[in-house]
């Protein structure tokens, strides 16, 4: 079963069109293996991206360097999935 330990979901809030373009460029970097839950489309919409552990450092650096604001929406995805699984198991019991 795929493990998501250390994966974070970042909510990124671009403040202008230039930042949206930068985020689109970020989304094209396949080696980062980003999973965009909400894609960079428009300044009015936040962007949610699941960032694998191995990509956290470069993504954070990219955002910091370009002064793009973000919050950590999910700090460790696997924690959430473990809780979800426990809830299902408990329900069955």
């Amino acid at each position: 079963k795929e493990n998501f330990v250390g994966h974070q979901v970042l909510r990124i809030t671009p403040k202008n069109e230039a930042e949206v373009i930068l985020l689109k460029e970020l989304s094209q970097l396949e080696h980062l293996e980003l999973d965009f839950w909400r894609e960079p489309i428009d300044v009015s919409l936040p962007v949610d991206a699941r960032v694998p552990f191995h990509s956290l450092q470069p993504v954070r650096s990219f955002l910091a360097y370009n002064e793009i604001h973000y919050d950590i929406m999910i700090a460790d995805l696997q924690d959430l999935l473990d809780a979800e699984q426990q809830e299902m198991t408990k329900s069955r019991a």
């Binding site: 795929e2 998501f4 839950w37 489309i41 929406m73 959430l80 999935l81 979800e84 809830e87 329900s91």
Partner: protein, 310 residues
């Protein structure tokens, strides 16, 4: 252990594919005069594409609801299960629903993408697409909401098999999509089509593939406004509404663009509740409130469909 009846089923937790299929069979067994199961096709991996048919008479026009075309959005399948029980329970008790079911059949596909859903339970919780391999690529699956013959291949879909919005090699290439296409075509008398996704709290109508407003935009907008007001009245959940391309983004090959172009005027798609903290990984205690508030909006759409024959 399987629940003995749909009354014992725990609607406030997530369930596996086999549990949902058992639920479907139980609901049919408990309501033989109202509910039947039809199998509209098979998924790529050979799973039945089960649709619940709620019907009180022959030769009725139909209303279609599907949930879970993106497999990882578990709150949609869970909401679909709740809707099924709600319809079975409220018929004969709730005047508005009874009036709808006295004129229309309701078709409900709870797990629209069963291969993907099974995969999320067994291998990869983050899986979104179908599971058909893509020739010449290490990446499997197609985004079934980019695979319809409505602006297929245009902007807002990807030609890269590794993308989450990969459109597939041709329209309706995915058996899960083709089965619905064949059903809609052969039925020929669906009057409303609602496709339910999560998340980001939106109620959307066509188009996604073009900026050209659909010819019924004014009416669809007014219905969406009332539906969202009804939804919000329950728990205060705020929804955006409008055409796909105006509210979210350009998306080609989408479900309701195709259904609208087939003549199903009341074509809508939902993006369900987002707590702002979990995305589509909504905690199980949010399932019932999500389903309850969505039901309010669904009733507005279905009621309007009943009152405005075309």
């Amino acid at each position: 252990l399987q629940p003995r009846s749909t009354d014992d089923f725990n609607y406030a937790t997530y369930h596996t594919l086999s549990e949902i299929n058992s639920f479907i069979d139980a609901l049919v067994q408990e309501n033989p005069n109202l509910v039947s199961k039809i199998v509209i096709g098979q998924s790529y991996e050979g799973r039945p594409l089960n649709v619940l048919k709620f019907s009180t008479g022959a030769n009725r026009p139909g209303i279609w609801i599907d949930t879970g075309i993106h497999s990882r959005e578990w709150v949609t399948q869970a909401s679909g299960t709740w809707f099924a029980k709600k319809i079975a329970t409220d018929y004969g008790r709730d005047a508005a629903l009874t009036a709808i079911l006295d004129r229309f059949d309701i078709f409900l596909e709870i797990v629209t993408n069963p291969d993907g859903f099974q995969f999320t339970h067994t291998s990869n919780r983050m899986w979104r697409k179908t599971r058909k391999p893509n020739s010449g690529s290490r990446c499997a699956g197609v985004d079934p909401n980019r695979n319809w013959d409505a602006g297929f291949g245009g902007a807002g879909s990807s030609s890269n098999p590794c993308s989450e919005t990969y459109r597939g090699t041709y329209a309706h290439s995915e058996p899960e999509v083709k089965a619905i296409v064949d059903f809609v075509t052969s039925h020929g008398n669906l009057k409303a089509f609602v496709s339910i996704h999560s998340y980001s709290q939106m109620l959307l109508y066509p188009y996604g593939y073009t900026k050209t407003p659909c010819r019924d935009q004014a009416e669809l907008h007014e219905v969406a406004q009332r539906a969202v007001a009804a939804l919000t009245s329950l728990y205060g959940t705020k929804y955006a509404y409008g055409s796909i391309i105006n509210v979210i983004y350009q998306a080609s090959g989408g479900t309701i663009d195709w259904t609208y172009d087939q003549g199903i005027k009341y074509s809508y798609t939902f993006e369900l509740r987002d707590t702002g903290r979990y995305g589509f990984i909504l905690p199980a205690n949010q399932i019932v409130p999500t389903a309850q508030e969505t039901w309010q909006a669904l009733m507005v759409i279905m009621d309007h469909t009943k009152n405005n024959p075309y």
